[in-house]
């Protein structure tokens, strides 16, 4: 909403064509200050591969995140591998056992193994978040790219709607949709998607606009390429990177939003072991059995943290090229 007057407002020439401005070396070359740039450095692909592997090894946090996410994915697709037990039945004689070798995460008030419930809740929580992100990515992406690429009144119209969606705090927007649609995982997914669709539209627009205004797109048009060729070959591939990095980041945020909504009780009905509702169930026994809230919450936090690490690494890697 806040715009600072463009400093080039008075220049009659088109933006980016002012020839008197000396062009700084691009960031890719500037990362190595003081190195003479004559004759072109050549980098063999093999070197790049080895360098990439080394970079991963030098970042143990990233490696740890990747391994943890692998575990989470296993839990989502094959929960039986990690926890063969039944998440719904418990032994009431074993109720509220603290974490130990028999029950890694302890047991709840019905004697159900909390670890098994967390593992089996993974697919439900992750699927809800994934649906939310996919809906938001596709709808936001289409509107954003259309706004950036077509410009004019279409851009104006789309962005005004986006402004309005951004003006309502996303949790409240989700809550409004839930009260209209009713409870349940699918509705939670749609609600969370509605909360982040504006973010996607905005970044998709800014990215496609950035690419559209770049000289190489103008060059492509001036060579005689058709608009759809330019869109397909230049705009989409160059805009996709940051949008996908955002999608990964938003996946983490969607897990948080889904768990918050299921914590409030709007997710899958009990006894489904959705992560948020596990924490909510544990609340009643907080004084006696703190692990019932601590451990499922820890799993949520670790998952989101790992996803964020990965998203930033993806964004960083992309910026390098």
């Amino acid at each position: 909403m806040t715009q600072i007057a463009a400093p080039s407002a008075l220049k009659p020439e088109l933006p980016g064509t002012d020839p008197s401005e000396p062009r700084p070396e691009p960031a890719t070359l500037q990362t190595v200050p003081g190195r003479p740039d004559r004759g072109g450095r050549e980098r063999s692909p093999a070197q790049g591969q080895a360098g990439r592997t080394r970079r991963w090894l030098r970042r143990p946090g990233l490696l740890l995140s990747a391994l943890f996410l692998l575990l989470v994915l296993t839990a989502a697709f094959a929960p039986g591998v990690l926890a063969p037990g039944d998440p719904y039945t418990g032994d009431s004689s074993q109720a509220l056992q603290p974490p130990g070798t028999a029950h890694w995460f302890g047991t709840d008030h019905l004697g159900r193994d909390l670890y098994t419930r967390v593992v089996h809740g993974t697919s439900l929580s992750l699927r809800t978040a994934l649906i939310a992100v996919v809906i938001a990515l596709i709808s936001g992406g289409i509107f954003g790219v259309a706004a950036g690429f077509l410009g004019g009144w279409i851009d104006q119209a789309i962005m005004r709607v986006v402004d309005v969606l951004l003006a309502i705090p996303s949790l409240l927007l989700s809550l409004a949709l839930i009260s209209a649609l009713g409870f349940g995982s699918t509705n939670v997914a749609i609600a969370v998607a509605l909360g982040s669709v504006a973010t996607f539209a905005r970044i998709a627009r800014s990215q496609s606009l950035r690419v559209c205004q770049s000289t190489f797109v103008e060059a492509s048009r001036s060579l005689g390429s058709r608009w759809h060729t330019t869109l397909r070959r230049h705009v989409l591939p160059n805009a996709a990177g940051p949008i996908l990095a955002l999608a990964v980041l938003e996946f983490g945020m969607a897990i948080l939003a889904v768990s918050a909504l299921s914590f409030l009780g709007y997710g899958a009905p009990r006894p489904a072991p959705e992560w948020g509702s596990l924490v909510s169930e544990g609340r009643n026994y907080m004084a006696a059995a703190g692990w019932l809230t601590t451990l499922p919450g820890l799993v949520i936090a670790a998952t989101v943290l790992s996803i964020n690490r990965l998203a930033h690494a993806l964004g960083g890697e992309r910026r390098r090229f």
């Binding site: 008075l10 064509t17 002012d18 062009r23 190595v32 003479p36 000289t215 060059a219 060579l223 160059n238």
Partner: protein, 554 residues
């Protein structure tokens, strides 16, 4: 720090010995300076010349302890006024900066804090080293601005940087640099962001100021011509070392180092190149004719003011014969780039007509324009921006062929290899990405792409201004050679008269949307009629060089 009370006059003001530095990056440490030596005596004017990446900025920033965080000095000494300042702390350097060494930074448009008034920023420099009341500082700031050649200084003090022009901002920065009355001024490419005529006036003023105050000046520049005009002594820097040093006359007339020789040979204002423009055909046939082209742009509305529009191109007429090069020369805002876009149909004229090969193309529809693109291509100013970073070189060169479905995939590949050969790049570059090529190589790729459809007309929009001087000459030579071999027609847009001197057959000088003078290149250079052309010619660096060295090196 032992105080050296040795006022020996022979001792230089600044003495740098064997200075080495390196940058710490993720990929390891990269040396920037490799044993640089530098002497400056009191009141002396020394130019430090080098291309991007030569280490000249690193050296000049090391002198005032303002290296970037990831840089460090590894060896060598810096002595200033007899004191060894190499290992000084930031606190110690503060007593030096401003008070004893002043810095005039590179780009005036970004070197002032946009949210502080000019007065605040000048007064801050005055009060950094002397206790004085605000009123007294304001008084002095006003004097400083006046000395720096700024009109109505009292008004300027209350203004913000964005309200001043680029040249005026550079004068403010000069005022800031001399505020502490330093013995040495480091001018780091002080005018390369400004138009040539402004550049000349400011450098003249800086010369006068330094002479009047007896201040030594270290002029850091990429332009050998500027160095020759302005300095007593020239130091040429390459690869982190000083490779050549001597008086301006010595360095230009008999360069010892191979790199300096290359630099002298390629400086556009200084020497004649070994090549000449392609001869014009006997019976010229008009390829492009523009008559009374006009184009206005509406400025973004500003609060409280009615919408304004600017006539970027205001009644421009020219004709261009097949095989000819016409240079459109002008400073920023003269409308030359807009004219180029009009000629290619990337912008629509408000009035006027365009004839391409006898056909009126002013009112063509989009699809028809597209067909015309096969015959008229554009080379952009910035080869870093005009190539899609995700494409391989082969994809870039074959893109126009794809667009018009010329030939089979294999044929396109052959064409690309052939074109790469034409622009003197090895064929194995086909599989590379732009990021792996240097600026000059990228511009060669852009030229190859423009030639892919064998066009009649190539519009070159400042094709060398983003490149280092030595690379500039090579690219210009390539353009001339291609014209000779293929009978290409060039519309060459540039702000730099020196660049087109040996390439263009005719030159048209543009100012404020109009062509003020047009004529054959030699005639225009020797007998400029319009006062503006004369001013532009006078601003070409190297013109004031102590001797005309064309004969020496030719």
């Amino acid at each position: 720090m032992t105080e050296q009370l040795n006022p020996s006059t022979s001792r230089p003001l600044l003495e740098v010995r064997g200075l080495c530095s390196e940058y710490l990056t993720a990929a390891g440490s990269i040396p920037a300076l490799r044993g640089a030596d530098l002497n400056i005596s009191a009141g002396e004017k020394v130019a430090l010349v080098g291309e991007s990446g030569s280490g000249k900025s690193t050296l000049s920033h090391a002198l005032i302890g303002l290296l970037p965080e990831n840089a460090r000095l590894t060896d060598g000494t810096i002595r200033y006024g007899g004191e060894d300042i190499t290992r000084w702390s930031d606190r110690q350097f503060r007593s030096l900066r401003g008070a004893r060494i002043g810095l005039i930074p590179q780009d005036p448009t970004v070197s002032l804090n946009p949210v502080r008034t000019i007065g605040h920023q000048v007064m801050e420099a005055i009060r950094a080293h002397r206790r004085m009341s605000k009123a007294a500082a304001r008084q002095q700031a006003q004097q400083l601005l006046d000395q720096a050649g700024i009109d109505r200084p009292a008004v300027r003090l209350r203004q913000y940087p964005h309200q001043l022009s680029g040249g005026m901002r550079q004068r403010v920065l000069i005022a800031i640099a001399i505020a502490g009355d330093p013995d040495l001024l480091i001018a780091d490419e002080p005018t390369s962001a400004l138009d040539a005529t402004v550049q000349r006036r400011i450098l003249d003023h800086l010369d006068d100021l330094a002479a009047a105050r007896g201040t030594a000046v270290l002029l850091v520049t990429h332009d050998l011509g500027v160095a020759a005009d302005r300095a007593d002594r020239i130091l040429v820097m390459s690869g982190g070392q000083i490779v050549e040093s001597g008086t301006a006359a010595e360095v230009l007339a008999s360069p010892q180092d191979a790199y300096t020789r290359q630099l002298v040979a390629s400086a556009p204002g200084l020497t004649e190149p070994a090549w000449a423009p392609a001869p014009l055909p006997e019976e010229p046939e008009v390829l492009l004719r523009a008559e009374g082209l006009c184009r206005s742009f509406t400025l973004p509305a500003r609060r409280g003011e009615p919408r304004q529009s600017v006539r970027a191109v205001d009644g421009v007429s020219f004709s261009l014969a097949r095989g000819e090069t016409l240079a459109l020369v002008g400073e920023s805002g003269s409308g030359k780039s807009t004219t180029a876009k009009l000629a290619l149909g990337l912008e629509k004229p408000d009035a006027g007509t365009l004839l391409f090969d006898g056909q009126d193309i002013t009112a063509l529809r989009r699809g028809e324009w597209r067909q015309l693109r096969r015959r008229a291509q554009l080379i952009y100013q910035n080869p870093y921006a005009s190539l899609d970073p995700r494409f391989s070189i082969e994809q870039i060169i074959t893109e126009p062929l794809d667009a018009f479905a010329v030939g089979t995939t294999a044929q396109r590949r052959d064409t690309a290899a052939h074109l790469l050969d034409r622009v003197a790049l090895p064929s194995h570059a086909l599989g590379r990405k732009p990021v792996e090529l240097s600026g000059g190589q990228r511009q060669r790729v852009a030229i190859a792409r423009a030639l892919a459809l064998a066009p009649d007309l190539v519009v070159c929009d400042e094709p060398v201004s983003a490149l280092d001087v030595s690379v500039q000459a090579q690219v210009l030579e390539l353009l001339a050679e291609l014209q000779r071999d293929q009978g290409l027609t060039y519309l060459f847009i540039t702000h730099d008269l020196a660049v087109v001197r040996h390439l263009a057959h005719r030159v048209a000088v543009m100012r404020a949307g109009r062509i003020v003078e047009e004529g054959p290149t030699a005639a225009l250079f020797e007998h400029p009629q319009h006062s503006y052309t004369q001013e532009l010619l006078g601003a070409i660096s190297g013109r004031q060089a102590p001797l005309h060295i064309a004969e020496v090196t030719a």
